[in-house]
Symmetry: C2
Subunit: 275 residues, 2 copies
């Protein structure tokens, strides 16, 4: 049976892969700054907020049950950043707007809505995410998306990339890991999924950390994923195509995507860089 | 603020309230019976399968983490019934068809698809269910429904009507219980939700247990719910209406629904009756 036919469900990383958090946070910082007549490099603060809140979520639940979700991490990370940056003038309304309203209004990348709709025609399509249930509900409604289910690590009590998160996601779908295609722009997520037996699709999101940072480069010696493409539309076209199904190896698909040699930083390296 | 404006999310019981399990199970039994040239009152067996599997799910997770989900309960309940009924001739294929394929193909009641779409225009609309994630995914796709999320007790590890299930559902939505309207045809579910502070809407499903059993009667002295109506379309119309918002008490809505005095059995009594 072909690779495509064995796949029953697509499990989508959502922050970064589906949602443009950088623009959302940057704009919210900028609006708050303007309100107080302050000018800073808000794109840098947006990235710092993402980096810190991500660090607070990765592997959460390994040692003890989580005591906060990603919305909580956005809040306490923002408070810490504002204190360090001497931005105490940002009041409760600013903080709520940046840490809650902005992420619950993140826009999806332009290819997502139509691509996801096409992908969902053939496969179960679920958000499998570190973000909170409510954040996914709100952004899904705002962007006119359609998930079959939201498998938030918030509900599982264990967060990616802990192996138990992937095992639980497949179990909740009553599928074998190899029947699930993990779709993500983050290598740490795809690597963890692959270790558990998931198939893997890398979707490049060169602007995830903003245009100043630019596209990210695969770490030296990194193994290719089953599929590497540049949009949900490309993924839909690939999974719909009969002719491509006849290719010998799914890794052949990699050649169709844009050259990766201009890419600068791997996402894991990027997170470390800001540490 | 009016009752309607305080509501932010509708949490829907799904088996029975959304899905017609009786017809689905009865037809699957009948098909299997025909295959073996056996004739029985399949409607009775369908109800027995539902009754036993429900009993196995209610309050599950109170004493220990669940070791099965509702699909598992359908399977072991069916095996027990077939053994007792001398229907050992039903093979693995029959059992899989009745216990898994049939429920994953249940049809929704005729008012659900359009009513739910209208309700979702104004409110977050989630399936809050004893049934498995996968069952809701499959029936949602089959019936062209649209949920904002599936809050399955399977993912929570505690099952309705345990109070923790309702508390977790509201917490996952980041809402106060009183911002949630529990929509169900089962009184045990609405009563438990009300005890936790949810608002409540009873939707009558007179054929839930088949036409031979007929509509169910409220137990003597039962308190009315905030809303009592006969379809999702009526609920949508009520929640969309401005004029009805001016009624003094939401319980006034009860008068709009069909007379309940022809109803025969409360669902809790019905479950007991088959015990």
């Amino acid at each position: 049976m072909s690779f495509k036919k064995r796949i029953k469900a697509l499990t989508f990383d959502t922050g970064g892969t589906v949602l443009d958090w950088h623009t959302g946070f940057r704009d919210a910082f900028e609006t708050a700054g303007r309100r107080h007549g302050i000018n800073r490099d808000w794109a840098v603060l947006a990235n710092e907020l993402r980096r810190r809140s991500m660090q607070a979520m990765l592997n959460l639940g390994r040692d003890a049950p989580p005591s906060y979700n990603f919305d909580g991490a956005h809040q306490f990370s923002l408070d810490a950043i504002l204190a360090e940056e001497g931005l105490d003038v940002f009041d409760d309304e600013d903080r709520r707007t940046i840490a809650w309203d902005a992420p619950h209004s993140f826009r999806s990348w332009p290819d997502v809505r139509d691509g996801l709709a096409r992908l969902r025609d053939r496969y179960i399509a679920v958000s499998f995410t570190l973000l909170s249930h409510r954040l996914i509900i709100d952004t899904t409604r705002r962007n006119g998306l359609m998930w079959d289910a939201i498998l938030s690590c918030e509900g599982m009590g264990v967060y990616k990339p802990l192996p138990a998160a992937y095992t639980k996601a497949a179990a909740m779908l009553q599928l074998k890991p190899e029947e699930c295609l993990m779709v993500a722009c983050h290598r740490f997520d795809l690597d963890a999924a692959r270790n558990l037996g998931f198939r893997t699709a890398l979707i490049n999101r060169p602007d995830e950390w903003g245009k100043a940072i630019g596209p990210q480069k695969p770490p030296p010696g990194s193994e290719p994923y089953d599929i590497e493409l540049n949009s949900f539309l490309e993924l839909a076209a690939f999974l719909e195509s009969e002719s491509l199904a006849k290719r010998k190896s799914p890794s052949a698909v990699r050649a169709r995507s844009a050259p990766l040699d201009q890419q600068l930083l791997a996402d894991t390296a990027l997170i470390a860089l800001y540490a």
